[in-house]
């Protein structure tokens, strides 16, 4: 090891490891920058993927539960009571192929799919309600037609 070379090296780095230390330092710097960007952007980008701001965060939570447990009637309880039992404890609706390596069957959630899922569900519910209303009207009409008028 000669002293003239050592002068330019950072403290603690011998000439032998200079190259390795240089590359490690570059790698560390890249990791730091990527981690910081990723951590900062995760929440907003995930929320947007899931349909915010069209859906409120609570609605996003509702929709994800419906997908997770394959049950349109599931809703997120917000705020959840402190020390309450686990929200989904004992649920019976989730779809899996059970076995030593269980396999879930929930729907894949693509970009803003939750908005689409909600709109489709609302349309289904509206169509169902309309059908029921029409049937009720028809039933009533049928009943009054069948009864002799007095």
């Amino acid at each position: 090891m000669n002293a003239s070379n050592e002068k330019d090296l950072p403290l603690g780095t011998t000439a032998h490891y200079a190259n390795m230390h240089k590359w490690l330092q570059r790698g560390l710097f890249v990791c730091l920058v990527c981690l910081v960007f990723e951590a900062a952007l995760s929440f907003p980008l995930i929320a947007m993927w899931m349909g915010w701001p069209t859906l409120t965060l609570t609605e996003v939570c509702h929709e994800m539960e419906k997908v997770r447990f394959a049950d349109d009637s599931r809703e997120c309880i917000v705020p959840y009571p402190l020390f309450g039992p686990a929200e989904a404890k004992g649920q019976k609706t989730a779809q899996d192929t059970w076995g030593i390596q269980p396999r879930p069957h929930y729907k894949r959630i693509g970009y803003r799919d939750l908005v689409k899922f909600r709109d489709e569900r609302l349309a289904r519910e509206a169509a169902g309600a309309r059908l029921r209303a029409e049937r009720d009207v028809a039933l009533k009409a049928g009943l009054s037609a069948a009864q002799p008028q007095q």
Binding site: G12, L35, V36, F43, V60, Y80
Partner: protein, 233 residues
């Protein structure tokens, strides 16, 4: 001892002045980097913290160029990166472990799960203690938050103070990090059906998201090959 080799002065009075100038410059740079790291450790405010950190880093590098004896840049990077890595990991897992029924966690963690890692979506909040229910996941969380990440944070602070125990404990906890990476990945591979069925970005997504946490792999070769004399008892 180490500062003597870097000191350009011949007599003792100059040496003292050089020492105190160096310490002052290091403290000034560290104040910026600490403020930046606190913000970056909160995750969501990271983009405000990064410029502060980079400014502190530049102050440190410039002071070293000007001839003051500063902490090596790579030690600074390892120390602060380990702190950020531990903070981010602990925050995510603490949310899942203790705050699993908050709205923020049920959007962030299960949303992340639906996109990258089904372990955080599959039967979420069904286990009696709530949170992720994937095989083995809770055991990793409980083992790693109090044991690994707390020890790692302390070691990183010791390293930044250029203490010998900081270097040694960071070596120990980085080796723990190697065990975590191999064990955690093997678990994920074995239960890959739960982890990747029905997620938006199977396999690639998780790797692109998590590969930046390989800090221990990049730190260990340095910590083992650095001249130990630069750390003080």
């Amino acid at each position: 001892m180490t500062a003597i080799t870097n000191s350009q002065s011949g007599n003792f009075g100059n040496y003292d002045a050089h020492q105190s100038d160096s310490a002052a410059a290091q403290l000034r740079a560290d104040k910026w980097m600490i403020s930046g790291t606190i913000l970056m450790g909160t995750a969501i405010l990271g983009l405000f913290g990064l410029p502060l950190f980079l400014y502190g880093l530049r102050l440190q590098i410039n002071a070293a160029k000007a001839g003051l004896s500063m902490r090596p840049t790579i030690v600074t990077l390892i120390g602060y990166l380990v702190i950020i890595d531990s903070a981010l990991n602990s925050m995510g897992w603490t949310l899942d472990l203790f705050a699993n029924h908050t709205l923020v966690n049920r959007v962030l963690t299960t949303g992340w799960g639906a996109m990258f890692d089904g372990g955080y979506f599959w039967h979420y909040n069904e286990l009696w203690l709530g949170g992720a229910g994937a095989p083995g996941e809770k055991a990793w969380e409980i083992a790693l938050i109090p044991v690994l990440f707390c020890a790692r944070l302390a070691a990183a602070i010791g390293l930044l103070q250029m203490k010998r125990w900081g270097q040694q404990w960071l070596i120990v906890t980085c080796w723990m990090g190697v065990i975590v990476w191999t064990g955690y990945n093997t678990n994920m591979t074995i239960f890959a059906d739960i982890r990747y069925s029905g997620v938006t970005f199977p396999v690639w997504g998780w790797w692109l998201y998590d590969i930046w946490y390989i800090t221990p792999f990049l730190s260990l070769p340095y910590l083992h090959t650095v001249n130990r004399e630069i750390f003080s008892e």
